[in-house]
């Protein structure tokens, strides 16, 4: 009886929450529309520039957009090492186009959208930029989320011992089990416990960043894994681990592989190919994750922009028709991106695992027998 009541209660609660969220969204949209109209009324007419909009959304920024607002940004700290030392200030001092303390966001071709230091002679110099940009903040949020999730799973084991976790923790365990027991352990064998922390961390970090990127408003919306700097670091780490855990056999296979002498002796052809292979593997990791995630975002952006492009070209009627089509496809793309988020995180992990296992090669059977 009590249980039934609780169930009805929960159903009611979720309905109420849905209603509240819907109301808030509708109110925000109304407010956004209103503020936009005000903006226009004051004579600011902004020409739609699809290319710029797309790259603005794909790229990094010095503040975090507030939904349904064109000018308001959540301020983030800017930390730059300029010609005259360290400068720290909040991004809202310069995102409006102002110059603060000799720094501004460049509009020039070379440093477009980046913080530059304006020199006395008017030239712009790019300082060492350690700003907590939107992407950096996004990375921090993703990292905290991962820590929270994983620690939650760990706490479950500490508190409940051998009981099977339920709900979200159970799902998390399922993923850990899938990645570790079904992927890392079979490939790495006895080395698995040594490399599992890195691989699992990478998997969950990538997955969280991928999924956060799909949420359009704060704390999501930063195109993290679709940014080459992020995938560069991840691929670099795999490269470093692979290189530093290489066995004697691994290096021997690179510099003195078992091939006919003429392929390796006067002209080091095989060596060249092998050394190139050392670098192309992490490079492929970097580009694969970056391209997959970025293209997903780009398709969604283009689909949404189609509404505005068609409205500008053919009027509101066509725009409404396009929006139905666009929203349906955007939804489909976003769902596909959820799938891609999992797949790419998994692919990165499994390939890293394979590269590490390749670096851990032991001498071949026939050689050991000699």
């Amino acid at each position: 009886m009590w249980c039934r009541c609780a169930c009805i209660d929960r159903g009611m609660k979720s309905k109420i929450i849905t209603a509240i969220v819907a109301l808030v969204i509708v109110a925000l949209m109304g407010w956004g529309y209103y503020s936009n109209a005000q903006h226009r009324a004051h004579g600011h007419t902004s020409e739609l520039n699809p290319k710029e909009t797309i790259f603005e959304h794909l790229g990094d920024a010095y503040g975090w957009e507030v939904p349904f607002n064109h000018s308001l940004r959540i301020p983030l700290p800017i930390i730059v090492w300029g010609q005259d030392g360290l400068h720290c200030f909040m991004s809202n001092r310069i995102t409006g186009g102002e110059t603060y303390d000799g720094f501004k966001i460049s509009t020039s071709e070379e440093h477009h959208g980046k913080v530059v230091q304006v020199m006395d002679d008017g030239t712009e110099v790019r300082p060492w930029d350690f700003s907590i940009t939107k992407n950096v903040a996004g990375i921090a949020i993703a990292a905290l989320l991962v820590i929270w999730m994983v620690m939650k799973l760990k706490r479950w084991y500490v508190r409940n011992g051998m009981k099977a976790p339920r709900g979200g923790t159970g799902f998390l365990e399922l993923i850990v089990d899938f990645v570790y027991t079904d992927t890392i352990r079979p490939i790495l064998g006895k080395h698995a416990p040594k490399y599992a922390p890195y691989l699992l961390t990478a998997f969950f970090f990538i997955l969280t960043m991928n999924l956060l990127g799909l949420i359009v408003i704060f704390p999501g919306g930063a195109n993290l894994t679709g940014n080459i700097a992020v995938t560069l670091v991840l691929a670099l780490l795999t490269f470093l681990i692979t290189t530093f855990s290489g066995t004697k056999e691994y290096w021997k296979e690179i510099f003195w592989p078992e091939v006919p002498m003429m392929l390796k002796c006067p002209v080091p052809m095989m060596q060249l190919i092998e050394v190139l292979g050392m670098f192309t593997k992490p490079l492929a990791l970097m580009v694969r994750l970056f391209a997959n995630m970025m293209s997903g975002h780009m398709v969604v952006l283009v689909l949404v922009l189609l509404i505005f492009i068609f409205t500008n070209l053919f009027g509101v009627g066509v725009g409404i028709g396009t929006s139905i089509f666009s929203v349906a496809f955007t939804l489909f793309m976003l769902l596909l991106d959820v799938l891609v988020s999992f797949i790419q995180a998994y692919v990165f992990t499994i390939l890293s695992t394979i590269f590490i296992s390749m670096a851990l090669v032991e001498p071949h059977e026939h050689e050991a027998a000699k």
Binding site: W128, S131, M151, L153, D177, A196, P197, T201, F205, I228
Partner: protein, 165 residues
């Protein structure tokens, strides 16, 4: 192009963030989680094995118990049958014994009857002899010349004997 040139600041922070994340999780979370999961997997595997064994054992035990019960039942039936047989035998034997005894008794009775008869006969004979002798004596003693008288006397004695008997 801007998209394809990694930003130095982002690379730096990403590196820092990843290393922090890695050291925190590698130190406090992953080994413990993996260990716990493996332990639980082992435990579940073992549990399943134990359960299967127990089930098999239970099945065996049940079969064994059934067998024991059946054995006991058949044994009981055997014993009962044996007992019935024995009882019948006993009764039969008792009956036979009784019949034998009765036969013996009757035979003995017959023998003794015969003997008695023989003895009686013998006695009769001696008595008859004695009587005959007495008669003869009396006959001789009287010294009778008359045949008729002699015959009448014999008759008289004989009838005496008859009445006596």
């Amino acid at each position: 192009m801007e998209l394809f040139t990694p930003e130095f600041g982002l690379v730096f922070w990403m590196f820092v963030a990843f290393l922090c994340l890695y050291f925190i999780l590698a130190k406090w979370a992953w080994p413990f989680i993996i260990k716990s999961m493996e332990e639980r997997a082992d435990k579940i595997d073992k549990g399943v094995a134990v359960h299967q064994e127990a089930e098999a054992r239970l099945k065996n035990a049940r079969a064994e118990a059934d067998k024991l019960l059946a054995d006991a039942r058949s044994e009981q039936a055997d014993i009962l049958r044996e007992a019935a047989k024995m009882r019948n035998e006993l009764i039969e034997k008792a009956r036979n014994d009784a019949a034998d005894e009765a036969k013996k008794v009757s035979q003995a009775a017959q023998v003794s009857l015969e003997q008695a008869r023989k003895e009686a006969e013998k006695q009769l004979r001696t008595e008859v002899g004695d009587l005959a002798l007495q008669i003869a004596e009396k006959v001789i003693r009287k010294n009778i010349a008359n045949d008729d008288a002699q015959r009448a006397l014999v008759d008289q004695y004989l009838s005496e004997v008859e009445t006596k008997n």
